[in-house]
Amino acid sequence: MDILEKIKQQVEGAPIVLYIKGTAQFPMCGFSARVVQALNAVDAKFDAYNVLEDPEVFQNLPRYANWPTFPQLYIKGELIGGCDITLELFQQGELEKMVKAALA
């Protein structure tokens, strides 16, 4: 399968999808860890993909997303942002609303 097609299927395969370095249990990067914490704090159920374990995704996701860095958070197939934006939304209380709406 084409790598961009594979990414599309992952991104659209769950209401909330997170690409991080490491796993949700053991993030390997502070930015990834903070996004996982924010999602856990609002009781979000999400699919997490470890980009360090999939070099193809690691190389091609930035191209798919037009977004050069990790982590990347997707809700309903749409890129929400990386660490800064996710934490900003969390602090504003918006993340919880978005998560609830996505999982409803």
């Binding site: 502070g30 930015f31 977004w67 860095t69 929400i80 942002g81 990386g82 800064d84 934006i85």
Partner: protein, 87 residues
């Protein structure tokens, strides 16, 4: 070394986005021993520019990433962005 990087980031952002205010902080010391860019290249950018007017946070970040595209491949390992429009 890191002062050069800050200068490169500053030049790119000033040329592309003509910010009203711009602050670039080198956070690399917090990430010594971290893989990627030799543990170097962690920066925080506070930028205020008219170009961000009416844009979402996602769009603002994309403008910053685009302005720094060449450096994102080489000198910047991680970038924290606080982008605002003039009030």
């Amino acid at each position: 070394m890191s002062n050069n990087r800050i200068e490169m980031i500053r030049q790119q952002l000033e040329q592309t986005l003509t910010p009203q205010s711009l602050e670039i902080i080198d956070d690399s010391h917090k990430h010594v021993g971290h893989s990627g860019a030799g543990g170097m290249g962690h920066f925080t950018v506070h930028i205020c520019a008219a170009a961000f007017e009416g844009k979402t946070p996602l769009q603002r970040h994309r403008l910053v990433y685009e302005a720094l595209a060449a450096l994102m491949q080489t000198d910047i390992h991680a970038l924290s962005i606080q982008a605002s429009a003039p009030k």
